[in-house]
């Protein structure tokens, strides 16, 4: 059994502590807000100068002057603030954002991250990816464990151009939660019904299994959203 994309987002959401200031990248991370429990105050940052991002705007109620970093129309929570790009990136590059959850194409055993460019890709773009990867201490990756050809994305060494070296702390995927330590990858959790061997089979870099390695605590569904595939 594996997690859905929503399931991965759910699992990350459980780990974000109250009072955290979180930047969410494109891909699976954009699904996280749905799973943040209402009783935990967590502040979502958008690189275009917003702290306190709320749910998407209802159709017809969009405000033309209010989008997130992915250019989707959003709402703001009470206590939100808006500011210019310089202050927004002061938050990122100064390390004030406590957590960043981003997608990845490749992650290496030493924490190297590749998520901005496929070699040979026609037109490059980087956005705020490097600023986040260099600036945020708790940099978490949320992604599918393997690519769409079934090949591992967690490698001994990245093959794609790096976003930043040695920056990723944790990897949340559809089959595992892996921590990146100075001694390499540590398997902390596996999807219900799978075991460490199954995860290793889909991971190029060697995994050390944590003594307290356990099943990912993700229910089958959440308010009608399927979390397990």
């Amino acid at each position: 059994m594996t997690l859905t994309r929503e399931g991965v987002a759910y699992r990350v959401a459980c780990d974000l502590p109250e009072g955290s200031y979180v930047n969410l990248g494109v891909g699976i991370p954009t699904l996280i807000p749905t799973f943040l429990p209402a009783e935990k105050e967590i502040f979502v940052h958008s690189e275009n100068g917003i702290l306190g991002v709320g749910p998407y705007a209802e159709p017809g109620a969009e405000d033309p002057d209010l989008v997130n970093a992915t250019k989707e129309y959003i709402t703001l929570l009470k206590g939100a603030s808006v500011f210019d790009h310089a202050l927004s990136f002061t938050m990122i590059r100064g390390g004030h954002i406590t957590h960043s959850v981003i997608g990845a194409m490749e992650v290496a055993a030493n924490g190297d991250l590749a998520n901005w460019r496929v070699p040979g890709e026609k037109v490059p773009g980087v956005g705020g990816a490097m600023d986040l990867a260099f600036g945020i201490h708790n940099l978490y990756v949320a992604m599918t464990h393997v690519n769409n050809k079934g090949a591992p994305k967690i490698l001994n060494k990245c093959t794609f151009p790096l976003t930043a070296p040695r920056c990723v702390r944790r990897i949340y995927t559809d089959i595992a939660l892996i921590e990146i330590t100075p001694d390499g990858l540590v398997l902390r959790e596996v999807a219900p019904g799978l075991d460490a061997k199954a995860v290793q089979a889909k991971t190029e870099a060697p995994l050390r299994v944590a003594d307290d390695c356990r099943d990912m605590d993700v229910p089958a569904e959440f308010h009608g959203i399927r979390l397990r595939a």
Partner: protein, 236 residues
């Protein structure tokens, strides 16, 4: 009496010259000076260097300017967003130059240009393609790359409200690059949704003091600026 208001966007951009460097504010649709960019398309200056986070959308605004072949070089962090087809086409044909800059480095370089800073060190990009060939040094145990300021001949920005002194405020996410770009050019031109009498804008709430602004034009918003349909698609 000082009066920085200008009647039309055409008048406001009349002095842009061939080869000029131009900053264009905005991120997504909020804060994009579309009417000024459209006026610049009509004005005709070519061989432009444009500094802007994105490469515009479709065939209007900055996308249109690029499609018209008027931009020699783009300095941007994310020129490959959906809709930036004009840029992508020209880039693939080798007909437009790109300086790709991490977004935080981009805004910091613009701020440095406006604040008289000759250069700065940042960790962002070290060990990646985007810092290749650049000077680095280790500061407090961390390798950092030396980045240079950006400064333009003209800056085009959009604000929500403005007065004849050039004081500006921005609504919600319109602010983004605009107040910083307003500090970093010889000539700063703002399009605004509303012109208000001096003293209307709260003195603690003015985001761009008039000292930075040379011209203010009241505009109707470009009809393409607000596209909730796309937003709805994005939510699916």
């Amino acid at each position: 009496m000082i009066d920085k208001t200008v009647a039309t966007c055409s008048e406001a951009v009349a002095k842009v010259f061939d080869g000029a460097t131009i900053m264009v504010g905005g991120f997504g649709s909020p804060g994009i000076p579309s009417m000024l960019v459209e006026a610049l398309r009509k004005q005709g200056a070519k061989n432009l260097v444009v500094i802007s986070n994105n490469a515009g959308s479709d065939d209007w605004g900055l996308g249109g300017l690029i499609q018209d072949g008027r931009v020699r070089k783009l300095v941007a962090s994310f020129p490959n967003s959906p809709g930036a087809d004009a840029f992508k086409d020209l880039y693939m044909k080798g007909e437009i130059e790109l300086e790709l800059v991490p977004q935080g480095t981009l805004i910091e370089r613009i701020r440095a240009g406006g604040a008289g800073i000759g250069g700065f060190y940042t960790p962002t990009g070290v060990g990646t393609e985007l810092a290749a060939g650049k000077e680095t040094r280790v500061i407090n145990g961390r390798e950092q790359v030396l980045e240079s300021p950006l400064y333009a001949d003209f800056t085009l920005i959009k604000a929500y409200r403005g007065d004849r002194l050039g004081n500006l405020t921005y609504r919600l996410a319109m602010r983004n690059f605009n107040p910083i770009m307003a500090t970093a050019a010889d000539v700063v031109i703002a399009e605004v949704d509303e012109l208000v009498p001096v003293g209307t804008l709260g003195l603690e709430e003015i985001h761009t003091p008039g000292i930075f602004v040379d011209a203010v034009v009241k505009v109707e918003r470009h009809p393409r600026l607000f596209e909730p349909q796309r937003a709805r698609r994005a939510k699916k």
